[in-house]
Symmetry: C2
């Protein structure tokens, strides 16, 4: 039964207000704190101590308007919206419903914002505790939803004195398989463990994890290393938002200006004629029967009216644009050139 952990609630901290000394409050409530402990502090009391409150009307439409203004201020990027739920990326990089702005555990005329720099908050509290002779790690935690799974869990917004990630990469299991992808987000797991003893209405904003070991001598990289760069994130936008973005991208496929006498045999206007033939075939297949004639060229596709009427010419333009969207969905970008006989879609986007 050695090497276990204890998760201990810190009771009796009471209400926290702007300017409060958290190190004082925590050591007062938990005189049993010891070197090597990991303190997991709910971001709410960090925010309150730091005065990260905004005054808002207690009710009515003015309250909602004020809340929307505050949300806009905390938002770096809208990620997804459905009904009343708005998921944004904050200026810190966290992806959270309503930017983590909270109206619970505060009087009705205030909203609580996230700490401005939760890693800095963790470092300050760690330094303050060290001044009192305590060598501990500090994790600032908050409650978040997740994709794909119901229910919320606590995760880390800030950390000091502990590595956010425990890296098993380069290690081998007992069968000799290299553990290639295993970086555990241990400060998130510590936050989750701490939440189990905190509860939501019990005024237990701090819990202590004892026995974890692995504290760092310096402050370490903080929790910011857990923020995934949105360009690298496969889920950087909501599904509906990304789908709408695809439709907008289709709408934004512009034509080049009218070329007058440009002929089919002229060289393509931009880029090398490169397209995966299988991708082109897939795109054509998704369209089903085209209403116009199409001819696959080495460097593009030529569309011409199936019959001789003004409506058939109009339809040729529409079909050419449908095909461009289908090709773009397959990663094949095109430049469209229209003449009086039809449209040529050259592979390669114009500059």
């Amino acid at each position: 039964m050695n090497d276990g952990l204890e998760i201990l609630p810190v009771r009796g901290i009471g209400d926290v207000t702007a300017g409060d000394d958290l190190a004082e409050l925590i050591t007062g409530a938990a005189p049993w704190l010891a070197d090597g402990d990991v303190l997991v502090v709910t971001s709410k009391i960090v925010s309150k101590a730091e005065g990260r409150l905004v005054e808002v009307p207690a009710d009515g439409p003015e309250r909602e308007e004020a809340r929307q203004r505050v949300l806009a201020g905390e938002t770096a990027r809208l990620v997804a919206r459905r009904g009343n739920t708005t998921i944004v990326q904050t200026h810190h990089g966290f992806v959270m419903a309503a930017a983590g702005i909270d109206a619970s555990n505060v009087d009705k005329t205030h909203l609580v914002l996230l700490p401005e720099d939760p890693d800095a908050s963790a470092r300050r509290l760690r330094a303050d505790l060290r001044e009192r002779g305590l060598d501990v790690a500090v994790v600032v935690s908050d409650t978040m939803g997740r994709a794909w799974r119901n229910g919320l869990t606590d995760v880390a917004l800030g950390a000091a004195g502990i590595d956010a990630l425990l890296d098993h990469r380069g290690q081998f299991d007992p069968y000799g398989n290299e553990l290639s992808l295993t970086q555990m987000a241990v400060i998130d797991e510590l936050s989750a463990a701490a939440e189990l003893v905190k509860g939501k209405c019990d005024r237990v904003p701090v819990a202590v994890v004892r026995g974890y070991g692995r504290l760092t001598a310096d402050d370490g990289p903080g929790a910011k290393v857990l923020v995934r760069d949105s360009a690298e994130d496969m889920f950087g936008s909501g599904t509906a938002e990304a789908r709408a973005e695809g439709l907008r991208a289709a709408a934004a496929l512009p034509e080049l200006p009218h070329t007058g006498g440009r002929s089919l045999m002229d060289p393509p206007p931009a880029g090398p004629p490169a397209a995966d033939p299988a991708a082109v075939t897939r795109a054509l297949r998704t369209l089903g029967d085209l209403l116009v004639s199409n001819l696959r060229l080495d460097n593009g596709i030529r569309l011409t009216p199936a019959r001789d009427s003004p409506a058939a010419l109009i339809r040729t333009g529409a079909e050419a644009h449908r095909l461009r969207a289908a090709l773009a969905a397959e990663g094949v970008h095109t430049t469209a050139l229209t003449d009086d006989e039809g449209v040529t879609l050259y592979y390669g986007a114009s500059a």
Copy 2:
């Protein structure tokens, strides 16, 4: 210091093979197990005991081909793919990289699949332990990645004898604010806490959480209540996949058959003429300057060539389709009717 939790590793379980009695192995390794404990069991040993292994070649392209076949069998739906990373929804509903198929902690000629029904696995183990006189809860856990955050955490695949969610809804904080959205995924937090003492190479596939309380008399709802219905999920598809889906949707906006003499003044062919004028304005604005003339009607938009040439007719078709994609991105669906003078986009999709 009361009301805390202990997280205790169970060492000495050793290698698990098909047909092993997990209750026997666990009680043998942890004779100190007590009523009220929560056992968090790594799904890997559950899978092994249940014989959820597939034989594959030890290396070479045949291994990768076999792995792809196994992955296809475990996949209900592709969620996102980038490079070598494939995220799928499994038949259980879990969204996981490679369907949770694992090549670590097993010899090189086998892959380990997830348990077929992890809730049933948890119930069986709980019943087996109860036969030995132990009244515990069982959580079957596995390691998963998440959207938006680097690093992995352990979460619950199965559970018995414990509620997956701890519901704070309907409770009030000390300020009288109702906690409206707070359902904590406690079995995920218990899994995360347990992972902190397990490690990845240490042969500690089981940890015990002592002091949690809140065990249920019956098996309870299991972990399946944590699986979010993909139709309700704002992140049901990867961003790139959803964007491509939008492009395909644009390509799939078909024209109605040529109408011959249908005139602008005919009634619209389908659906009520309903469109948010602001949405229509936004769609037109995203297109910038149209190359053709457009006229907003009560029930649609009429597009006609800006000048009299075959190329201008072709362009009218392309511009009409661009506009349809832009309208669809704003949630305005249209039915296109082409005649010899132009195109009318009627609001309301055709049946």
